[in-house]
């Protein structure tokens, strides 16, 4: 009977460990997806990568208030002719709202070189919402805001 109690405690502990391991793994995956998103949006602009990153019902908000659907955002990003230099993505924090929902906050800086030759310094604070779809973290929502 006593042994049973210990076995029970052991199982509970193992369960906790497993949950913690899963969270750490999810957090790592989300950070990697966040970095890939940034590299794709402000770098390669590869539409196939974007198709994989975006959730089926994604909403994509720009710093000037424009809100796009998944299709509009993917089209807009892949056709964007600006070149982004000195990009930096930092202060990434992940917060789990549930097992399958996470809110990411991060800061992004870059110099945007537009087709017309002008250069604009960008300083963005980003809010990203990632959801797990078919075991993969997908971007459900994004809102950028320009900061000083």
């Amino acid at each position: 009977m006593r042994n049973l109690k210990y076995i029970f405690i052991l199982f509970v502990l193992l369960g906790t460990l497993k949950v913690n391991a899963q969270t750490a793994k999810d957090e790592q995956e989300i950070i990697e997806r966040t970095q890939l998103l940034s590299k794709t949006v402000f770098g390669t602009k590869d539409s196939l990568t974007l198709e994989d990153l975006f959730a089926s019902k994604a909403s994509y908000g720009h710093s000037h208030g424009n809100l796009q659907t998944r299709e509009e955002a993917i089209k807009g990003i892949s056709k964007n002719r600006s070149v982004y230099k000195d990009t930096s993505l930092r202060n990434i924090t992940v917060l789990f709202a549930s097992n399958s929902t996470a809110i990411v906050r991060c800061l992004f800086d870059a110099n945007e070189n537009k087709v017309d030759g002008t250069v604009t310094a960008l300083h963005f604070s980003m809010m990203l919402v990632w959801v797990k779809e078919k075991n993969k973290w997908k971007l459900f929502g994004r809102q950028a805001v320009s900061i000083q």
Binding site: H64, G65, F96
Partner: protein
């Protein structure tokens, strides 16, 4: 046969109710705006998720604790929150995306502000009903 129809109608209703609760969401959205104006701690505690991430248009981010404390200390006060438009972009059983265009007036650290904002909100349905989990505003260029 009549019973079969009746029972299946009953279940169809149940499924519809279980899927989306946009009435409850709209109610929570209104409650939130009113509570932000009135600094209603009880309502704020119920409509804000414990892990809420509340981002302002200048990059300032508040936690639930920050929101409650900053209202209490007088750091932040809203005098006006007026939605020019408000749309539920996506809604399912547990998760909703909301976009509003909002005129916000108030003061922060004693300095008055008057802003036209684009606000993106994410709501999650918990046992306590719809709760705001993430919010980010951006200044609208006019």
């Amino acid at each position: 046969m009549r019973w079969v129809v009746f029972i299946s109608l009953f279940f169809t209703n149940l499924i519809a109710v279980a899927q989306v609760d946009s009435v409850g969401l709209k109610d929570a959205m209104q409650k939130l705006d009113k509570a932000l104006l009135q600094k209603d701690e009880v309502v704020l505690k119920s409509v804000l998720h414990k892990d809420v991430s509340y981002g302002h248009s200048n990059g300032w981010i508040q936690s639930k604790e920050d929101i409650l404390n900053d209202f209490k200390s007088g750091k932040l006060t809203y005098n006006k929150i007026e939605n020019n438009s408000s749309a539920i972009v996506r809604i399912d059983k547990k998760f909703a995306t909301v976009k509003t265009n909002t005129n916000a007036e108030g003061s922060v650290n004693g300095t008055a502000f008057k802003l036209t904002l684009h606000v993106m909100q994410f709501w999650i349905k918990t046992k306590k009903g719809w709760q705001l989990i993430a919010r980010q505003s951006a200044k609208l260029s006019t």
